[in-house]
């Protein structure tokens, strides 16, 4: 048999840390396998949105993709836990969990849905940005329309903080902010910067409510197509790619914050405690879900 090609699609631009790390993965794969295993990357949503790409993995016409854990949760429900606000004490805690046993179990959990998680890329933490009103306490969010991702957890979080969660597609958000359909949104610094939402929103409140990582996923159909040696190569290449992406991400985050500040955005660093206290109601809704409740407990135990 000749060389095998792995087709990998994602929704980000070619300058994004995720894409660069994937290129690195391809080079590593090429080196390890001596050209027997090659990676073909399709950036910019060429083959579909994140949800659609996961479906293509299940269908079998695509091999790998990168999605937000928030998208993954609609396929593999245990991932929901990562969307919980203030779940992690800090970023170090988050990495400890994601790179440890719990993270591995979450990645493996996808297999029963034909989606094998391979690793977690860093997607920073999400914070609120608002157009006209400064937000330093949860009370400031009262009555504000905040755009959220279409995720039950995200909506519950904004409601519990007193805001009105408004699902609007990412593509329509710029004009919606500009025209005042919503008063603000929430995302990580590089996305805030690259989407140019900082042209409209002049306040960025770094409450860092959610640490929602990106997940690198392979279809189980691809995994079965590879022999043990090839699986080994792929795992190694992924590992290297993850380390590299996290370095790039850290740099991109600093650069993004500097750039938006230079563009006139006021960066606020609020006391996170009142925010964390208010969202406890979000956790209450998971008491009845034993899987999630158990995961929350395990995660909180990790030092």
């Amino acid at each position: 048999t000749g060389p095998k090609t792995i087709k990998l699609a994602h929704g980000l631009d070619v300058n994004h840390s995720v894409h660069l790390a994937m290129v690195e993965m391809g080079e590593e794969l090429d080196r390890l396998s001596d050209g027997q295993l090659t990676l073909e990357i399709y950036p910019n949503q060429q083959l579909g949105t994140e949800r659609e790409c996961l479906e293509l993995l299940q269908i079998g016409s695509l091999d790998m993709t990168k999605v937000s854990a928030g998208v993954m949760e609609n396929f593999a429900p245990k991932m929901k836990v990562l969307g919980l606000p203030f779940l992690f004490r800090d970023r170090a805690h988050a990495f400890e969990v994601l790179d440890g046993k719990i993270g591995q179990a979450l990645l493996n959990d996808g297999e029963q849905y034909w989606l094998k998680g391979l690793g977690f890329y860093d997607a920073g933490s999400r914070s609120f940005y608002t157009k006209e009103k400064q937000v330093t306490t949860p009370d400031d969010l009262k009555g504000m329309k905040i755009r959220v991702m279409e995720s039950v957890t995200a909506m519950n979080m904004v409601s519990s903080l007193g805001g009105s969660p408004t699902p609007i597609s990412w593509g329509e958000l710029y004009t919606s902010l500009q025209q005042g359909v919503v008063d603000g949104a929430e995302n990580n610094p590089p996305s805030f910067y690259l989407s140019r939402h900082y042209e409209v929103c002049k306040y960025y409140t770094l409450d860092e409510h959610t640490v929602l990582p990106d997940v690198l996923v392979a279809g189980t159909q691809l995994w079965e197509r590879l022999n043990a040696q090839e699986q080994q190569w792929l795992s190694e290449a992924v590992k290297k790619s993850v380390v590299y992406q996290r370095e790039l991400w850290a740099k991109a985050e600093t650069e993004a914050l500097e750039a938006v500040e230079k563009a006139g955005v006021t960066i606020l660093r609020p006391d996170k405690v009142p925010f964390a206290e208010k969202v406890s109601t979000v956790y209450d809704s998971y008491v009845t879900d034993p899987d999630i409740a158990q995961l929350i407990e395990q995660i909180q135990k990790i030092d």
Binding site: D13, N15, N44, E52, G60, S61, I168, S169, Y174, R196
Partner: protein, 431 residues
């Protein structure tokens, strides 16, 4: 470069079209045939099915059925002819008066919403029958409607410019929006000139000059209808609703007014809903098919391969820009706008920026190019809508479309080679 998929694609597509297969099915069938070159049957068939479904999974697309519906309601509900009557008293006595109204209205509507398909369906269903009643050929009316609808994609607000900003890695949306005004209006003016000349040549009857009291009377009649424009624009600008939601408000308003005029009843409403959903379905199947086709092309790396070959020809800026314009015009023949922007921006933008071109300027050029593509057969969503609402056929509208295409291309070349037309406004506002 892999030739087999391209060969299968082109041959099957041309073959299917020429034996009279409906365009949407031709696209879908040649997409699956091409896919079968490299993907086994089961995953390939499932993927095409998935693309058909997810191709329509967009909130922004909703403006299409709603404006089709609002257009039908305005037609049946007595609003359209009141608007036309008023417009006639204003410019009806000029050669091609109704066509001029169509262009201006499309630009206005584009300045409100930003969906060319919605504009084509609304203007086409409102003004089309009026033009025909006045002796215009149905095809000429459709051609003017189709081309003028695309000006709304360049005149802000424009969702496609937002897509470009994302694909280009963050070119300022505000700057892109400002940059779109002059090119959009320029293109509209060019189309109006052609419409006037064509109407004069064909000897379409001019309206009579109206006296002041007629103007006032028709204006008062038209006020409730004109108010729709105020509600829609005001609602969007005032931040009450998004462009898509505005289209639903337009439906509500037209229903209420239609009932008030006693021209619509609960008896006639279902038929209007059915007609609108049939028109919607025609358009939607075409979009769904185009999305399958675009997916397959990206999967086979066809866009990348094509541009590699063509860009190997020269490194002169003027020549490269000419080649890129030609490629994009060609791409637009087969591809829908959003996927084309997403696929070709990352390929071309690094090349042109290396040549010293402003990314804002390039974004406008790209969108203008693809605007022309939206009106060209065989794959052109605005063309399909325009032909669909006018109840004519693609081959019949081609003849009146040609002169309109030529001036669109002329405008495109002016905008390509005179960057100030694009960059003056954003620079004026320091963006």
């Amino acid at each position: 470069m892999e030739y087999i998929p391209i060969l299968v694609l082109v041959l099957s597509f041309v073959g299917l079209l020429s034996i009279g297969t409906p365009v949407a099915w031709s696209i879908s069938i040649s997409a699956i045939l091409t896919m079968l070159v490299s993907i086994p049957y089961m995953p390939a068939a499932t993927t095409v099915a998935q693309r058909m479904g997810t191709g329509l999974d967009s909130f922004a697309l909703l403006a299409i059925p709603f404006f089709i519906l609002a257009g039908n309601l305005m037609n049946k509900g007595g609003m359209a002819h009141r608007l036309i009557a008023f417009a006639k008293t204003l410019v009806g006595s000029l050669p091609g008066g109704l066509a001029l109204i169509n262009v201006i209205a499309a630009m206005l509507m584009g300045a409100i919403a930003g969906s060319a398909m919605a504009s084509a369906s609304a203007m086409g269903s409102i003004l089309g029958p009026e033009m025909e009643k006045d002796g215009y050929s149905r095809e000429f009316g459709a051609a003017v409607n189709i081309t003028s609808a695309t000006t709304g994609l360049v005149i802000p607000p424009s969702n496609v410019l937002i897509v470009y900003s994302l694909a280009s890695g963050g070119v300022s949306i505000a700057a892109l929006f400002l940059a779109g005004y002059i090119p959009g209006i320029l293109t509209g003016l060019f189309l109006m000139i052609v419409a006037m000349v064509w109407a004069k040549k064909k000897g379409y009857k001019r309206g009579e000059r109206s006296n002041f009291s007629q103007v006032v009377k028709t204006f008062i009649d038209a006020v409730p209808s004109l108010l729709l424009l105020v509600i829609v624009i005001g609602g969007i600008v005032g931040g009450i609703f998004t462009a898509t939601e505005a289209s639903a408000i337009a439906v509500l308003y037209t229903v209420v007014l239609g009932f008030a005029y006693k021209e619509i009843s609960f008896k006639t409403l279902p038929q209007i809903l059915l007609d609108s959903s049939a028109t919607t379905a025609v358009v939607m199947l075409l979009i769904a098919a185009s999305i399958s086709m675009s997916w397959m092309m990206s999967y086979e790396n066809i866009p990348q391969a094509t541009s590699d070959v063509l860009l190997g020809i020269s490194d002169n800026k003027i020549v490269i820009l000419l080649i890129i314009n030609l490629i994009l015009l060609f791409v637009g023949i087969f591809m829908d706008m959003t996927p084309a922007v997403l696929i070709f921006t990352p390929i071309f933008l690094p090349v042109v920026t290396k040549l010293g071109m402003d990314p804002i300027h390039f974004g406008i050029i790209m969108v203008l190019n693809l605007c022309i593509g939206l009106c060209t057969p065989p794959v052109g969503s605005v063309l399909f809508v325009g032909v669909g609402v006018a109840k004519t056929s693609i081959q019949k509208v081609i003849k009146p479309l040609i002169p309109l295409f030529l001036v669109m291309i002329l405008a495109l070349f002016l905008i390509t080679y005179i960057p100030q037309l694009t960059l003056w406004l954003p620079e004026l506002f320091d963006l």
